[in-house]
């Protein structure tokens, strides 16, 4: 069967507990165990092949572009880890069945656990660096979920976040490291990478890659100085701790070191970083563990210490040390899992984990106590237990170290020191909890746990003993296979017997035992010494750091994004200035070669008027009505300018737009204060004036530079083809409705949307009508003067006639739908002004919304009409017809298009203006919908 089945099985297994939860807790646990059990038999079935040295691989292409393949690899190391992960995992499931209470959501717990298991297994079975990394990150995330399982507790949440942040950061470093390695090797394939050790080690980027990978491994396996997250992950339910901190999570870091050992080890840098980190972690963990009053706290630091030990071994760079490391991985997983489970039982059955309260439990739970004591003895390295064997190997290896030069003697000494503390805290675990007097007000009377809760511990403790007594029989071949993977096949000579004769390592063990006893005996003094130091809670420190960062970020953010539109606009314009001014400075002179046109007095006068009125608008902008008048002067002169420079269409349009805009603004100003307060500081006024002036200068320079240079453009084509291709002599109009009719279609859509948007906005408005003007004068009683009504009414047909005329001639003469629409609108608005809404309402029953929609629709349908003739959208058609009485006329599709424009313009203008005007009347729009 394919290797892929293993993770797939487990992945399916994630959903099993969620589904079977309803059948009861025991059934749920049973069904949950199925998937890992099946996976375990699968793996175990491959044991013979792997033990014979075969490396099983399988791969499936996935995303070749990024180098990601689904690739499985089962070798000795992977086999050892898989057995630990699945084996201990199964025991944890069984244990958790009795550990979790009725209130805990069991399905969710198991689902997280299996998810974690899947990820962990995917790490050790991965044959692709990226796939490995993916699984690595998933372990971080699923452990986050497991640690925060009791999510209503602050401790759980904070502990989980801390673990996620630290391991997450390490994960990102690892990713960078793996990317560099892959870049050096040119492949993400693990087999290729493993075969390229020399290339990698000699590459200039090796140190960077090494440090990054080590960061990933060290954060995950809680090496100093990243160890602080691990004790706080103890907020998790104990089965989780037992799993994460024995065989899995933290071992992922160790696995990575072992996995990359053939590639990254063997250099000075590796030796120094890995061994010194390991040594520091070993000592720190062992020392601190002694002072933890919390059972799980003690075990947590003991875990840190043992992880340090393994790291130190991997950093030692002798082949035997690597073998010892692999051996200790197994042994530690076995005894630590059982110890955590024992601690969980004690907690569960007595209601406390505080060793100052828990005393003399031997009398209450002798059976559990026995199991726990054996496991603890293994942790201490007592002979005939598995812990002893690997520790002996460790001591032996420390003696062979030379890399620290003349200081190398320190390594065995410090290792022995670590051993002493290790014995001391193990002793404490045994003596404080099970002996040492009577329990002191613990919540429950302790008793033995349910039968099945002990089974997992029994199995593990039996393993401790069996491995301890018959090492080569029990795990000899597995250790050989796993070590040979780590050492790339170059296995050193070693012997796995219990007795090696009297030698130095044995002496070190003896010293550790005796020293441990002594330390434990005099622990009172150490406690009082240690009490002088203020204990820092890493969780608080960490949370404090994060919160300080958040505070700083918030302060910075509030300082920067202070909600001032003026600031944002100033920044926008400043950036514009910097960006446009920089190229302009490269230009020697703005003026091009073209000669200037002659100017006359009228033009100069108009230009001066333009400047004055623009300036006046700025200066008078606080008196809004006056500013509006000066602004309209600007518009007027612009229209005249268009007319002067042969753009009658533009002039007409501008003029009509001016009228409509001024009316619109008058209406809007009606609801607003007549004057704006002066809210800008003089400093800001200067700043803004400066920015505005320079911006204007830059834009003017660009304009000047362009118009003084010869210009050669596609407009020639439009001039040449307007009549022949577009059927009109007014090129501007032909451009609007034909050459670039699509733009016009877009723009009338914009106009329509604008009208709808404004209508949507004012439909919600409840504005009070000012009862008097700024000087307190009441409005005139006569709201609709008769003369105005008369005149405007008689003007209406005239105006409509004009607009029809302008519309019709548009294709050949200045005019067109847009201008005609504006003229019509102005005439109609005049009716509103002259007669009031009440008068108009029954007379003009047009729904402006419908007018807009049908206008755009007519234009768009005209465009789509060309599809009938197999032509692209908006292809125009025109022809000339001789009609009796009238003469020869031209009919063009563009007229229809222009009609759409016309209707849209009328509809949009009136929808806005009429409704803005209606705001004060009983006809005001409502928010329906």
């Amino acid at each position: 069967m394919s290797l892929f089945w293993i993770p797939v099985l487990l992945l399916i297994g994630v959903f099993v507990p969620l589904i079977t939860e309803r059948f009861g807790r025991t059934a749920c646990a049973f069904f949950t165990m199925l998937a890992p059990a099946l996976a375990l038999t699968q793996i175990a079935g491959l044991l013979p092949e792997v033990l014979s040295g075969e490396v099983l691989t399988e791969s499936l292409a996935w995303i070749p572009a990024v180098g990601l393949t689904l690739s499985m690899r089962l070798d000795g190391l992977g086999m050892m880890f898989s057995l630990l992960i699945l084996g201990i995992g199964l025991l944890i499931i069984l244990y958790a069945r009795y550990y979790l209470s009725e209130k805990d959501a069991m399905g969710r717990f198991y689902a997280y656990l299996i998810l974690f298991m899947t990820a962990m297994l995917s790490i050790v079975l991965s044959n692709n660096l990226l796939q490995l990394w993916m699984a690595w990150e998933v372990t971080s995330i699923s452990s986050f979920l497991l640690i925060s399982y009791w999510s209503s507790k602050t401790d759980s949440r904070k502990g989980a976040r801390m673990a996620l942040t630290v391991t997450g950061a390490g994960g990102l470093a690892l990713l960078a490291g793996l990317l560099i390695i892959a870049d050096i090797v040119g492949s993400y394939d693990l087999a290729t990478v493993l075969a390229s050790g020399d290339v990698i080690r000699e590459h200039a980027m090796y140190p960077v890659a090494l440090i990054l990978v080590l960061l990933g491994a060290f954060t995950k396996s809680a090496q100093f100085p990243f160890h602080f997250w691990l004790p706080h992950a103890m907020a998790a339910p104990t089965p989780v701790s037992a799993y994460l901190h024995s065989a899995t999570m933290v071992k992922a870091g160790i696995f990575l070191l072992a996995r990359m050992y053939p590639v990254l080890s063997g250099t000075e840098l590796w030796f120094l970083t890995v061994s010194l980190t390991g040594l520091a972690t070993l000592l720190l963990g062992a020392y601190v563990a002694l002072f933890k009053h919390d059972l799980k706290g003690l075990l947590a630091y003991s875990t840190i210490s043992h992880l340090g030990l393994i790291t130190l071994l991997l950093g030692m760079d002798t082949k035997l040390a690597a073998v010892a490391a692999v051996f200790h991985i197994m042994n530690h997983a076995i005894f630590k899992a059982s110890l955590f489970m024992a601690a969980g039982i004690i907690d569960h059955e007595s209601g406390s984990r505080d060793m100052r309260k828990l005393n003399g439990l031997w009398r209450y739970m002798p059976y559990t106590a026995t199991l726990a004591m054996v496991a603890a003895a293994s942790m201490a390295g007592v002979p005939l237990l598995n812990g002893f064997l690997s520790k002996e190997m460790f001591f032996a290896e420390t003696l062979h170290q030379v890399a620290l030069g003349s200081l190398s003697w320190m390594i065995p000494v410090l290792a022995t020191l670590g051993g002493i503390f290790s014995v001391a805290y193990s002793l404490r675990f045994i003596h404080d909890v099970f002996f040492n007097g009577e329990p002191i007000d613990i919540p429950k009377t302790p008793h033995e746990p349910p039968r099945y809760m002990k089974i997992p511990i029994e199995i593990l403790v039996t393993m401790c003993l069996l491995v301890g007594i018959f090492p080569s029989f029990m795990i000899g071949s597995l250790l050989q296979a796993a070590s040979s993977t780590v050492l790339d096949g170059q296995l050193p000579e070693y012997s796995l017997s219990v007795w090696h004769g009297f030698n130095l390592p044995l002496l070190m063990s003896a010293i550790a035992m005796a020293g441990g006893l002594l330390v434990y005996a005099y622990r009172g003094r150490l406690y009082s010494f240690q009490a002088q130091f203020r204990e820092t809670d890493a969780k608080l420190v960490f949370e404090g750091v994060i919160q300080a960062i958040v505070r700083q970020a918030t302060a910075f953010h509030e300082w920067m994004a202070n909600g001032s539109l003026q600031r944002y606009v100033a920044l926008l314009l400043l950036l514009t200035l910097v960006m446009t001014a920089s190229p302009l400075m490269e230009l020697n002179s703005a003026a091009g070669h073209l000669p200037h046109q002659p100017v006359n007095g009228i033009e100069i006068t108009a230009a001066i008027l333009l400047c004055i009125s623009a300036l006046a608008t700025v200066i008078l902008h606080r008196q809004r009505m006056v500013a509006l008048i000066t602004l309209s002067v600007v518009g007027l002169i612009v229209s005249i300018t268009f007319a002067r420079f042969s753009a009658p269409d533009l002039a007409l349009t501008q003029l009509a737009v001016e009228v409509v805009t001024v009316i619109l603004l008058m209406l809007a100003l009606f609801f607003l204060p007549q004057k704006t307060k002066n809210e800008s500081s003089p400093r800001r006024v200067v700043r803004d004036l400066g920015i505005a002036a320079v911006c204007g200068g830059v834009i003017a320079t660009i304009n000047y530079a362009i118009i003084t240079r010869p210009f050669d453009s596609i407009s020639e084509f439009f001039l040449a083809n307007s009549k022949t291709g577009g059927g009109g002599t007014n090129v501007v109009n032909v451009i609007l409705v034909d050459f670039r009719g699509f733009d016009t279609l877009g723009e009338i859509t914009v106009l329509g949307i604008a009208a709808l948007g404004i209508f949507k906005l004012i439909a919600r408005m409840r504005l009070a009508m000012p009862s008097a003007d700024e000087k307190g004068r009441a409005w005139s009683e006569d709201r609709h003067p008769l003369i105005l009504a008369m005149i405007s009414q008689s003007l209406l047909p005239l105006a409509l006639l004009v607009s029809v005329y302008i519309f019709l001639r548009g294709h050949n003469m200045p005019g067109g739908g847009f201008i005609a629409g504006l003229v019509t609108s102005v005439a109609l608005i005049q009716q509103y002004i002259a007669h009031g809404v009440d008068w108009i309402k029954p007379r003009i029953k047009v729904d402006y919304q419908v007018l807009i929609a049908s206008g755009v629709l007519i234009a768009a349908l005209t465009g789509a009409g060309s599809w009938l003739f197999d032509k692209p959208f908006l292809t125009s058609w025109f022809d000339y017809f001789d009609i009796p009485w009238i003469g020869k006329i031209e009919l063009a599709s563009a007229i229809l298009f222009d009609l759409g424009v016309y209707l849209t313009v009328v509809g949009a203008t009136l929808l806005i203006l009429a409704n803005l005007g209606k705001l004060t009347t009983r006809h005001r729009p409502t928010v329906e919908e």
């Binding site: 209503s152 950036l575 009719g741 699509f742």
Partner: protein, 506 residues
């Protein structure tokens, strides 16, 4: 119809929006009609984009000469892989947003459905057009529709945010016109491909002016994309917008990014001589600062909407990095990242809204509140979205981040890009884990069971989130596509050939 396919993604929403303003769709009581119509329109748009995409995959990029005026004279639409990827993305995002709105938020003000169609039309037009002025027009369409949609539902917050948004964008539109005038004034053309040819033939003086025009255009796109220091409008606007609209807005910044990719790869690309790659020196620092500010903003966010908005800013910075690298490989990486980040940030806005709905007055603020009444459902949605947006495997964000990292090759590039992107990822993890633990796990009192989510809301959010696993599972196809799209974008010769433009023929 197949020869007209290229224009349909613009015309379908246009006609659809117009019809919804007319009987029998118009009117307060007819909202059910409009919903059905919207659904049909969205499916039509998506179907159309898929068909067009297949056509482009099989037969290469095509152009559509509107009005039958051939390039460089008339307006052309240009359908290539890049444009279609974004059009399809827009359709899917639009579908998700509308489904979400069907739960009732579409009835909180006038014209929601037609405006949404016009919004989609504007965005599709911006992606499809091959003409710089027409791009301006479509920018206007999408902007004006967004102004109107932003105030949907009313309220002070929205109006205030809208004032900022409108004013800044009006300035942006003016700058766009200045830029257009400058570029037209120097190159004498508006067709993007033609401009690319002309720019290489400019005299020294004209070159400088064109450069100023090109940089002005960068401001315009930068403002849309929320590039630093033009990003200030974004958090407030997105946080104030109605959820469905905010979700749709997730693509609005990408329109700016698209503009940058298109214009500065084609017009100021490799062929542009002295002006080749002229904006990169500006983009590099701005991209890094954008990511930094986004990360700071993410840490400082007081609620999930602001957090999502700042994550959008981070994604913008990341995309700018991908652009600044100037290689087809990096462009391909950017495109993958773009699609992923659009979908997931869109989903995040929807999730924030659903959370707010169940947490009483606390809404989505990071404070203790009543318990979320559907924690499992919302929790899974949030969790997937958070992992995706933070770039954690096995979701799309991880591939997105990976491809960007992989496209940095020289040591200098790695030194700059890797730390900033990885650290921004870490900051996202920190911010999101704090957000999630507070929103879901810090509560007092039980949930309000009357506030159940509607099926519409859930399906809208799930639709957008689906992209996250799918883009990983079908990662090979997606990356193949983005690579081909990037090659096509960078292959200017191919563009000139398609458009029949050979060295400035007039």
């Amino acid at each position: 119809m197949s020869e007209h396919l290229a224009i349909l993604p613009i015309l379908i929403p246009l006609f659809g929006g117009l019809f919804m303003l007319l009987p029998p769709f118009a009117g307060p009581q007819k909202y059910q009609y409009r919903r059905v119509a919207t659904l049909v329109l969205m499916l039509l748009q998506i179907g159309c984009s898929v068909l067009l995409m297949l056509q482009v995959i099989n037969q290469g990029a095509t152009f559509y000469a509107v009005g039958n005026w051939q390039p460089p004279f008339g307006i052309v639409l240009f359908a290539d892989r890049l444009a279609l990827l974004l059009v399809l993305l827009n359709g899917i995002l639009g579908l998700g947003a509308t489904l979400y709105a069907f739960a009732g938020s579409d009835r909180e003000g006038k014209y929601f459905h037609p405006l949404l169609q016009f919004q989609l039309m504007g965005i599709n037009g911006a992606f499809l057009t091959g003409d710089l002025f027409n791009l301006f027009v479509f920018f206007e369409v999408l902007l004006i529709a967004s102004y109107a949609l932003l105030v949907h539902g009313g309220g002070k917050q929205k109006t205030l945010a809208n004032v900022h948004y409108v004013i800044l964008n009006l300035i942006g539109s003016s700058l766009f016109l200045f830029a257009l005038g400058t570029l037209y004034g120097t190159t004498g053309t508006l067709n993007i491909a033609d401009m690319s040819l002309r720019i290489a033939q400019l005299s020294a003086g004209e070159l400088v002016i064109a450069k100023a025009g090109g940089l002005l255009l960068l401001i315009v796109f930068g403002l849309k994309a929320a590039m630093l220091p033009l990003h200030f409008w974004l958090p407030r606007t997105y946080a104030a917008a109605p959820a469905a609209v905010a979700a749709l807005f997730a693509i609005m910044t990408k329109v700016g990014i698209y503009g940058i990719f298109r214009v500065y790869t084609v017009i100021f690309g490799e062929q542009a001589g002295e002006l080749a790659g002229m904006v990169q020196p500006w983009i590099w620092p701005l991209a890094f600062l954008t990511i930094t500010i986004g990360a700071i903003g993410a840490l400082a966010s007081p609620n999930l909407r602001h957090l999502a908005a700042n994550l959008v800013i981070i994604s913008v910075g990341t995309l700018l990095v991908a652009f600044a690298l100037r290689t087809p490989e990096a462009t391909a990486a950017g495109l993958f990242y773009l699609v992923h980040s659009t979908l997931v940030t869109g989903a995040l806005f929807l999730i924030a809204d659903m959370l707010g709905q169940q947490r009483g007055k606390a809404l989505d603020w990071f404070v203790m509140a009543r318990k979320v009444s559907q924690p499992a459902l919302l929790g899974i949605l949030f969790f997937v979205a958070a992992m995706t947006v933070a770039g954690l495997p096995p979701f799309s964000g991880f591939i997105g981040k990976l491809v960007i990292l992989q496209s940095a090759h020289s040591a200098a590039e790695m030194l700059w890009i890797w730390p900033i992107i990885l650290i921004a990822g870490l900051v996202s993890i920190v911010a999101l884990s704090r957000a999630g633990t507070t929103l879901f796990w810090r509560y007092s009192g039980e949930g309000d069971n009357t506030q159940k989510l509607s099926r519409w809301q859930i399906s809208g959010a799930i639709l957008l989130l689906l992209g996250s696993p799918l883009m990983v599972i079908f990662g090979a196809s997606v990356t193949d596509y983005t690579q081909a799209a990037a090659t096509q974008l960078h292959g200017l010769q191919g563009l000139f050939e398609v458009m029949n433009l050979q060295g400035g023929s007039k």
